[in-house]
Point group: C2
DNA sequence: CGTGTGATTGACGCCTGTCAACGTCTGTGG
DNA sequence: CCACAGACGTTGACAGGCGTCAATCACACG
């Protein structure tokens, strides 16, 4: 599929000032603009697969990607989501390891591929960029540690409430208080680390408790503080 | 407490070639040798506290440190252990955030403090060092993600078996097959994310199943493959 | 010898996973 | 336009893993 020239330049990317690349020089920006390859991906496509070698990173121009690991019996554990301005795959590129997660599109996306060599070269030549990237990794590390604590200590009920709040923070609500990301019950279960049926039951309890409203797959959050209370969030 | 001059130089450190600093120039090594401050810490002392600002990193010369977060009701969740050659606190130093974990000595240790400024300067001026550090962060990130998956999907029994294997890999066995790290039952529970009583019961089940032997706080691993089987480790 | 910390054991019950059945919706093909 | 298949959502029944509480034991230390 062909795309317009403007789409392939970082200069015209609406996320330009918010990505990890914000501190690149114009020259460096041009470098990745030339090298990279911006393409649309349909819902359901897999960007990269756990266990495979990965030849570069992807900068997300639009859409939503879920990043997950495959655990026991093939059950997926969603680690995080990536959306516009985020970058995925850099961990494997920099560490030279195989991908430890799978990235799958859950909302039609446009992704810019950046070759690993280019990425590593930028890391080595631009101090600000390497520091930004390091800080990103550190931030993710902190979040991962926090999530380990939550998942190890909180009940499923608490975790589900917490996840709803986290989704709100990351994807925001529209003007009707609807979560701006729609997931299947199974996907919610795969974030929380529980069974689909448990998610269904707890969601309808939250509904009875007037914390949320359910309209099919769309979730309206009506009592944020109530949810935070249920989730033990301070 | 005074220590010998030799102890304060990285040159004489037995971990010299295995630490994150292995690619520093002699000049840079001297730089941290001069700046740093190597001191003994007794079991029980806290190196840094969750939520506090942190002014530098610590390179572990000897001993064992547990790194944990404090969760609901003050229950600690052990994230990892650090031993000789490891470095702790760099996450907060580089990201400029407050410490997101507490570091407490569980076996008498000797730690070298490296001021944050020095550390950041090294990160900026030495490409190999920054790449090594980035790879370290990426590796930790991968491990954290794997642990999230395990803790979310495995039973307590499986996780306990897995933790015993992980402890074996990190701290090795002595010539009598004893784990070279001794933890309280509560600490084991705080890694696995369960109740102390559950750890006690499961350990004695493992003992009945001839997978381990218990001698007070010391654990002898007699059937590694059996443990791996119980822990679903491939 | 008293005190405190950690280890152990038993009782109890709830949370949550599993299994099964059924309802709902969407898209496809005849 | 209808039938059907397949994916997803929902509900109920049920059992068992695991957390909690309480009592007791073991051991070290001042």
């Amino acid at each position: 599929m062909k795309h317009s020239p403007s789409m392939s330049s970082c200069d015209s990317c609406s996320n330009k000032f918010e990505t990890i690349f914000k501190h690149l020089t114009q020259e460096e920006h041009d470098m990745i603009s030339l090298d990279k390859n911006c393409e649309p991906y349909k819902k359901g496509s897999v960007i990269y697969h756990e266990g495979n070698r990965i030849s570069g990173c992807y900068c997300i121009s639009s859409g939503i990607i879920k990043i997950y690991k495959t655990g026991i019996d093939g059950k997926e554990q969603i680690i995080t989501f990536a959306k516009n301005g985020d970058i995925i795959g850099f961990r494997s590129v920099l560490s030279g390891e195989l991908a430890c997660t799978t990235a799958k599109v859950i909302e039609d996306s446009s992704l810019c591929f950046i070759p690993g060599d280019t990425f590593i070269q930028l890391f080595k030549q631009n101090r600000e960029f390497s520091m930004d990237l390091m800080q990103l990794a550190c931030k993710e590390l902190g979040e991962a540690n926090a999530y380990i604590t939550d998942i190890a200590q909180k009940t499923v009920r608490e975790r589900l409430a917490e996840i709803l709040i986290l989704l709100k923070d990351n994807f925001h609500l529209d003007n009707e208080q609807f979560l701006q990301i729609t997931l299947t019950r199974e996907e919610l279960a795969n974030i929380v680390g529980t069974a689909t049926e448990s998610v269904i039951r707890l969601l309808s309890e939250f509904k009875s408790d007037k914390l949320i409203e359910l309209h099919g797959r769309r979730i309206k959050i009506t009592d944020i503080n109530g949810l935070k209370k249920v989730g033990n969030i301070f």
